[in-house]
Symmetry: D2
Subunit: 346 residues, 4 copies
């Protein structure tokens, strides 16, 4: 039985994805994305987003985020994001590399969400037009946030309105896009371009693929340089069909939503179970497949001793942990976790 | 029947590789290379090279080449290579990106091989130590070369001796490493570090993998910065086991050599068949799985009309084409090509 | 009469500097720093700092800061500085450009000084050794700070001790080095390498030169790459003697200290005069030639109406302004400012 | 008596320039180019070029060239230039740094001039639109070339026509712009934008300034990003008036043309004298202030022994040397050189 609640990237791949890869790997096909899988995956994404998008499959979230951002900021620009955003905390200086030296500026905000007030304040002092200062260029929002919460459509709209008013483009880091979508119960279009998003890092790896992400650009004119940027970033795969086949299968017959729903349901179950325990406290709302909980020290220790894996979340303060479920999480795993925790109830 | 002789990157993947990926994708494992597949693949490479190597799986040849080079040159350095090298002609300005701005300098040489004389001449005028000039830092050799030939061990030794004498480090672009190895019938160690190579781009994608390459650093001290460089280059895969499992299976029980031998044998057969035709001329020696042939215009046209795919090789002059076989090439495909060509014999 | 208190960079040049330039510009000399002026300026700096330093004249403070930092951090490293530091707020993304993409991390602290506590806290959560995170590489301290205060020798020692313990190198932005030195009344050595500083941006432009700064590296081994970096940064002047002659004259017979003392004295006079006025408050200690004062709105308006130039200092809150004196400030200018202010006393 | 014929950058500054600097350095002025000198210099350049130009003073030729090029190529672009161009041979990898990693491609051509045939051939094989290849973006021409010759207006027109037809922008490295202009006896407009040049590095340092160059952009819309690029490149001087005052004085009352004419005349005299000697051969036409001559070994040795300074020009072959005159060269120096050479006539 799986006892790993450390991250959804510890999961393997969904069987449907593996079958698609095996099928795609048979026989010959033209390289570098001039293949049917890539065409179909691209078309499928446009359908799902109800708009002709420019779609660029890549193989890591870091590549998707940094290539996406490179479309939105010059090397002397700045990108606003939450101070705990993955792009500012967990991607080394890849954003600087792929943007040619732009700067990330971290903003405070509850539950991992950029606060519109903090954004306005930062922009007010940003020195737009003054060559001495980095120039406000983009806003990057993570959906699900790094605290497991989802921006509501209203929150997204309010933030992108501020951005638009100040001439910023908007990027969405959708490493857990499907989990947020299922959590909000809205359409992909509503959660992105209809809410003011220009470029999306569409994540699929965490939710059942092997290694498949896509940069989705809602205004194709904005993506003109991306073919060159992707090649130069060493993300143009010769056997691109292998990446694209994953995306195609992922989006086939709602597989992606089923996988995300499973993960979210298990997170919900886990949250419900843990909340009922004395001394346990959720420190952020659970909108997807991540929980942030304060656990009594004995309980945390006991769970670890029982072989459960999970990381402390230092930004939450002493005793706060992150628990993540995945597309393959089983009810019995969650119940085992809760049962074990209950044994250490205060 | 496959009629695609355009490139070995139009082939899919070997069944053994696909099985390994499917097996690795089951269940949970720690991410980012902290997994057993990565450890085993790394160890296996060290065994095969008879030396403790630092091994960094990545997913494209461009990533392997440019990350490897970034260890060998400062941003104000220069990398000498053949004027038709893949790194200078086919990787956009990825080398500049990942080295921080170093410069590639293309040298002439027969059959795709850097000429030691040209290298000596370039180094004599390089202005070493003079801040106005880019500083000679590395030599990059492609094995198989872009003209399908292999450097002999003596040629490698002579070139790396020049390099060493001038303080250059040596990189080998081994996108078709196995094909060259089988062609030369020597050991991996002999073709690399024993011949003076410091860093190898160990290619596996073209020879039956999905997307798997490795930067192999023969002196691990030289690789100290590579973990950071790889992450920053967006090449640190969360589900790294998927890449590593390919490498492990590739190197298991000599699979890689069997696959390369098949490709080379088919190239040999093709060369033999074509050479016997009037008006056909090989313009470079065939040491691996690539042929460079001058075809009469009618023959080239006839082959294309029959559905065979292959590219002109403009560096060879008018009427010269590149033909590439792969690990999955079939004898009947080759024979069909020759038979078709024979129909257009002059 | 000068009424410009906006910045010391609005001043021209000291006559001694101009004479030296005119003298140096006569006749022929070898270019690119192979000249006697450069040798003498370099030697003079070593004498003043009581140590063999590697000295690199450049022509802007941004060049000195960013080239200096480029010696101390890899492209995946981070540089800690005060959140109001010039390098993070006023140099566009030049630091990213010249370091190859390293990241600046701004820390809080009173009166423009990095707080040792904030530094320790940042380092504790920095993820040293973890490839996902930028790697702590350097600490940059501004002396005078951007709030006009000077770190005491004890404060410098305490901060560099933290840095050293965590493996950070230390940079000092000495755009107003002479003003701080005069303010502290210590030796150049005491305020730099004896206090744990590795690389100094030695500023001379603001204090009476035309355009002359120098990167001073206290351990010459650390500067090995700097000749190449400077050339590549377009800061190797063909007629380098023009820059070096400024530095030589600046350091001749204590000119630099006399110039700084004048500026500091005038700032002291200004502070004294303003402090005596009702409603005026100094918001940071005055250790050099800058004052940060809260002025009643009417007083600020009246001064501006009278033609006095000065900027608001938004980090100080509503109604706070920066006033700067220079090497050429006259007592009557200061007295005129105070007299005018007095007319608007609350 | 000056015996230095090594380079015009060994000369000092013209008295008029020094006076202008001294005058500009008096009193207060707003920094960073918000001053009258900068406004006037900019306006003067527009007048001289008979067109509203965007003008950006900088302090080194490397800065002017690389910032100019950065406007014309994306990081994945290529810049064609002569294989002996200063930008490819003498500026380290500054072009890569300031363009974000674009590539220079050196072309052959007689007497330092890019051959239109070589340019056409290079463009034909450049792979425009193919992401694997660097994308042809710009052509850079040096006027005077590095071989001392000047492109005629017809040659310029023919080359820029090729460039325009292939979508390339055109840069001119005018480090010795005035010398070429005087040599061609045409107007600044004719030699630049009327001939198809988009961006000019307008050099003044070599011809009597201390350190003053300007990026001149003939279509100001093309320069939109240059204010940010210049600041980020550490070339925005706080006391910018010092650089601008040089440019203003340089262009006042035809000073620049007088200075260049003197240098050219002296070069003409030198050429005439040397040509008359047995065994001496000019290897390139003399259109400005540089000579490239083959000298008998004894003559070269004798001149050096007599204290004359000059460099071998290895691209010219054995025994070829470069001789450079400057704005301050005296007739007696030239005559002394010739007389000395005559003593070693074969």
């Amino acid at each position: 039985m799986n006892r790993n609640f450390a991250s959804d990237n510890t999961a393997g791949a969904a069987p449907e994805i593996l079958e698609a890869v095996a099928a795609a790997a048979r026989g010959r096909a033209m390289p570098y994305g001039n293949d049917d899988w890539t065409r179909r995956a691209s078309q499928r994404i446009s359908e799902i987003f109800e708009r002709d998008c420019a779609v660029f499959p890549v193989a890591t979230g870091t590549a998707a985020n940094t290539l996406g951002l490179s479309l939105l900021t010059p090397p002397w620009g700045s990108v606003y994001c939450h101070q705990h955003a993955h792009i500012i905390l967990d991607e080394s200086s890849a954003p600087e590399l792929f943007t040619g030296g732009a700067r990330l500026i971290g903003l405070a905000g509850e539950a991992g969400k950029v606060s519109a007030t903090a954004l306005e304040a930062a922009l007010a002092g940003s020195g737009k037009g003054d060559v001495h200062h980095v120039q406000p260029a983009a806003l990057s929002l993570t959906q699900l946030t790094e605290w497991g919460s989802a921006y509501s459509l209203e929150e997204l709209g309010a933030l992108t309105e501020v951005a638009r008013r100040h001439g910023l483009k908007v990027h969405m880091d959708g490493a857990r896009f499907a989990n947020a979508l299922v959590g909000l119960n809205c359409s992909p279009a509503e959660m992105t371009w209809k809410a003011g998003v220009d470029v999306l890092s569409f994540g699929a790896t965490k939710n059942g693929c092997l290694a498949a992400e896509a940069v989705v650009v809602f205004d194709p004119a904005l993506a003109e340089s991306l073919p060159f940027r992707r090649k130069r970033a060493a993300q143009l795969f010769s056997k691109m069909r292998i990446v694209s086949a994953q995306l195609e299968a992922y989006l086939q017959d709602g597989l992606w939503l089923r996988l995300a729903r499973r993960a979210n349901d298990m997170a919900g179950l886990l949250a419900e179970g843990l909340e009922s325990l004395a001394g346990v406290e959720l420190v952020a709302p659970v909108h997807g497949n991540e929980l942030f909980v304060r656990l009594p020290a004995k309980m945390a220790g006991g769970l670890k001793a029982a072989g459960f894996l999970f990381y402390p979340w230092t930004f939450g303060g002493e005793g706060v942990y992150r628990l993540v479920t995945a597309f393959d999480s089983e009810r019995e795993e969650v119940e085992a976790f809760i049962a074990c925790a209950r044994g250490f109830e205060e």
